[in-house]
Structure formats: structure tokens, C-alpha cells
């Protein structure tokens, strides 16, 4: 870009132009740390030196970023810093504004890893007694992973069809830059309604996995409100996030086994119970049918007998009534004699002169006893 020198610019305008151009020069720089100063707010001011020709660059890392990476800058340390240059207008000072920080070389990384591992282990972050069991019959699952990688499709093809409600947030998972993304995802999921959180990435080199050894991230996982499963592919050194998680495994398919297990067992039990219930109920039904049929027989036979018995009683009552029907006796030639209202059955019951009424079948004969 060529600036038109016909245009005379102010210092501020010129520095704005310069910073605009410097914005395009984001880079990862390797060097040795020189003097380090932390101001009252925690912003880190340091220099980086090129071992080859002793070139020096002033760097600054804002406090929030510096705390995030949990790396204590010390003179002589070899680091890789990612950021972009900037001219600070009030002082005209050139600085490399550092966004991410990581120890350079596997040796340094290993050393930091072992130191942090020992520190966190001492605090009890990895204690087995602190691990929460993965709940049975989980339905709401939160996933943090890269949507580019193979792990997500691996997970989705192995997770069973048990009506899982899966929420996924895409995150970078590679290198130191992934730390900010992963922390943001975890913070988002803290406010979501999930029963288990799964953080996954495929295998990679020790350097590529270093975001999963970040102190802040490890602490977030250890203190997450619901159980966390970390599925980070690795070789020898287990990522610290896997040690802090409630379940640390190395592949997404093992995660699915853990989540499917209780559902699969329940399905098996359900099948068995269903068979038992169905056959049990079938025998109850058969029994009931038998009892009902039996009752029908008893009822029909019994009721028929009742009707017969009432009929027979009516017959015998009729016989009794007819036998006592006075008209019948009178028709046969019998008569009934009265003196007054009294029925006379013996000669002793009358005396001479008594007026006797004799009822015959067709009337009454008036007579007198002599």
C-alpha cells in the first residue's frame, strides 16, 4: 500500500493506518522469555528473544488471557506466543499483543504437565472418591467437540435409539487456541438443562492435546454441576481433563457404551417382564373364564331348581286349599251344623229346644233339637 504523500497525515491518523496493517500480521512466534513484569491489574509485560540473532520483541498479554493459560512466565523459558502486533498510540510503543501462550517443545510441555498434574492431584481433583457415577437412563446429553472431526459421527452412529436429547456445541479442539473455545462452551452448558456433559476429540500429539491440560479447563470440568465424560484420544500421557472427569475414556464408542448400558439392560428386563406379565395374565384370564363358565352352570341349574320348587309349592298349596274348601265337603253331602255361631260337633253340645242351622251345599236348613 502506498500512501499519497500529497496528503499530510496527523500522527494519530498515521498510527491508525499502521495498526490497520499490523492487524493482518497475526502469527505464532517462538522465542525465549526475557524480563517479565506484572502490573497491578495482572497484565503481563515481557520480551521475547530470538536465540539465533538476539532480536527482541516487546510483548503484552492482558490479565484475563494470562490467567486463562495458567502459565507462569519466567525469564529463560522458551514459549510459543500467538498474537498480533500493535502500536500503542499514547506511547508510540510497539508491542506484540499475545492471545495464546504455550511452552515450546515437548520437553517444556511435559514438564509443565507433570507439575500441574502433581499440583492438582494434591488438591484431590483426581480422587476416585470424588467421581460421580454416570446416571442411569440418561436422556439429556451435552457434547463439546469439533464438528469437523470424525469423533462426532463415530459417537452418533454408536449411540442407541433410546430417545436421547443431544445438544452439541462446536469448539476448536486443537492447540492452545482451543482453550478459550472450550471454556466458553463449558460456561454455556452450565446454564443448559443436561444430565451429562461429554467432551470429545480424536487422538493427536502431546502438543496438539495441550488445551486439555489447561488448569482452568481442568478445574471447570472437576467442578461441573453434572457428571462429565472426557473422551480424548491419547498415547502415553492421559490428558488432565480425563483425570478430572467423572469418566475418562479414549474413544467416542466407549462413551456410547456407558450411555447406552442402562437403557439396554432395561430393554432386556422389560422384555422378560412383558413375557412374564403376558403369560401370567393369560393364565388369570383362563382361570376367570373357567370360574365364569362354572358360575353360569351353577346359576342356570340352581335357578331352574328354584322355579321348579316354587311350582311344586304352589301345587301343594292348591291341594291343601282344595282339601279345606268347605264347598267341596258340602257338595259331597256333608253339612255343618251351627247353634248360633258355634259349630256343633257332638250331641253333647246341644240340648232340646236349641235352634240349629244346618249348612248344606246349596243353602241352610233351619231346625230345632228335640
Amino acid at each position: 500500500m502506498k500512501i499519497d504523500t500529497e496528503n499530510i497525515l496527523s500522527v494519530s491518523d498515521y498510527l491508525d493506518l499502521v495498526n490497520g496493517k499490523l492487524e493482518e500480521l497475526s502469527a505464532k512466534i517462538i522465542g525465549e522469555v526475557g524480563k517479565v513484569t506484572l502490573d497491578a491489574k495482572g497484565h503481563a509485560y515481557f520480551s521475547m528473544r530470538d536465540e539465533k540473532d538476539n532480536s527482541v520483541m516487546s510483548c503484552i498479554m492482558w490479565a484475563s488471557k494470562y490467567r486463562m493459560f495458567g502459565i507462569k512466565l519466567e525469564e529463560g523459558m522458551k514459549i510459543i506466543a500467538y498474537g498480533k502486533p500493535n502500536m500503542y498510540k499514547p506511547s508510540g510503543r510497539f508491542s506484540f499483543v499475545t492471545e495464546t501462550l504455550e511452552p515450546a517443545g515437548e520437553g517444556e510441555l511435559k514438564k509443565k504437565y507433570e507439575e500441574l498434574k502433581a499440583k492438582l492431584a494434591k488438591e484431590g481433583l483426581f480422587d476416585e472418591s470424588e467421581k460421580r457415577p454416570i446416571p442411569d437412563y440418561v436422556q439429556k446429553i451435552g457434547i463439546i467437540t469439533s464438528k469437523q472431526g470424525a469423533v462426532l459421527s463415530d459417537f452418533l452412529s454408536n449411540i442407541g435409539g433410546h430417545g436421547f436429547n443431544i445438544k452439541m456445541i462446536d469448539s476448536r479442539v486443537e492447540g492452545a487456541e482451543a482453550v478459550a473455545d472450550l471454556l466458553a462452551c463449558i460456561n454455556t452448558f452450565k446454564k443448559q438443562d443436561i444430565e451429562v456433559l461429554v467432551i470429545m476429540r480424536g487422538g493427536g500429539s502431546f502438543e496438539s492435546l495441550q488445551a486439555f491440560n489447561n488448569e482452568l479447563l481442568v478445574r471447570e470440568v472437576a467442578g461441573f454441576p453434572v457428571p462429565v465424560i472426557a473422551a480424548i484420544g491419547h498415547d502415553k500421557d492421559v490428558p488432565l481433563i480425563s483425570l478430572a472427569a467423572d469418566l475418562g475414556v479414549s474413544t467416542p464408542s466407549i462413551v456410547t457404551v456407558a450411555l447406552n448400558d442402562s437403557w439396554n439392560k432395561a430393554e432386556l428386563h422389560l422384555e422378560r417382564f412383558t413375557k412374564g406379565i403376558v403369560s401370567g395374565f393369560e393364565s388369570v384370564l383362563t382361570n376367570q373364564k373357567f370360574l365364569i363358565n362354572n358360575a353360569i352352570n351353577i346359576f342356570t341349574v340352581g335357578f331352574s331348581a328354584v322355579i321348579r320348587s316354587i311350582g311344586q309349592k304352589l301345587d301343594s298349596t292348591e291341594q291343601l286349599v282344595q282339601a279345606n274348601n268347605p264347598e267341596r265337603q258340602l257338595k259331597r253331602g256333608y253339612s255343618i251344623s251351627y247353634v248360633g255361631d258355634k259349630v256343633i260337633r257332638s250331641i253333647k253340645e246341644v240340648k232340646a229346644g236349641d235352634n240349629m242351622n244346618i249348612s248344606v251345599s246349596d243353602g241352610i236348613i233351619n231346625s230345632q233339637v228335640k
Binding site: K289, N293, I296, T300, F303, S304, I307, I310, G311, K313, L314, T317, E318, L320, V321, Q322, N324, N325, P326, E327, I336, V343, S359
Partner: protein, 70 residues
């Protein structure tokens, strides 16, 4: 099917039978009255019993046909 009436009639007939079996004196008019009452009751009861029996036969037929279907 008025089984309440049938029950009432049968009860009265049982009373009449008991009365006939237990009485000592003969009273022509009363006896006649009771005999007439008993005859009516017997006739009615037989009719009512027939109705009950017919309804019962229908129910039995229904139950038997349901049993066959199942």
C-alpha cells in the same frame, strides 16, 4: 317381570297354608273367603312364575350363545 309381587303372593299363600294347618274351628264364610283368596293368589303366582321362567330361558340362551362365540 314383577318378582316383588310374586314374592308377596307366595308369602301370603304360605300364611294361608299355615292357617289351614293350624286352625281349630271351621267358619264357613271365612273359610270360603280365604279359599277364594288363595285360589286367586295361586293363579296369579303361576302366571308370574311362568313369566320369570320365560325371561330366564331367554337369558340362558344369550349366555350359551356368547359362550359359543368365545
Amino acid at each position: 317381570m314383577d318378582t316383588k309381587n310374586l314374592n308377596k303372593n307366595l308369602k301370603r299363600l304360605a300364611e294361608i297354608s299355615e292357617w289351614f294347618n293350624g286352625r281349630k274351628d271351621v267358619n264357613l264364610e271365612e273359610d270360603l273367603k280365604i279359599v277364594k283368596e288363595a285360589s286367586i293368589l295361586i293363579k296369579e303366582s303361576r302366571e308370574q312364575l311362568k313369566e320369570v321362567e320365560n325371561s330366564f330361558e331367554e337369558i340362558k340362551k344369550e349366555i350359551e350363545s356368547e359362550k359359543e362365540v368365545k
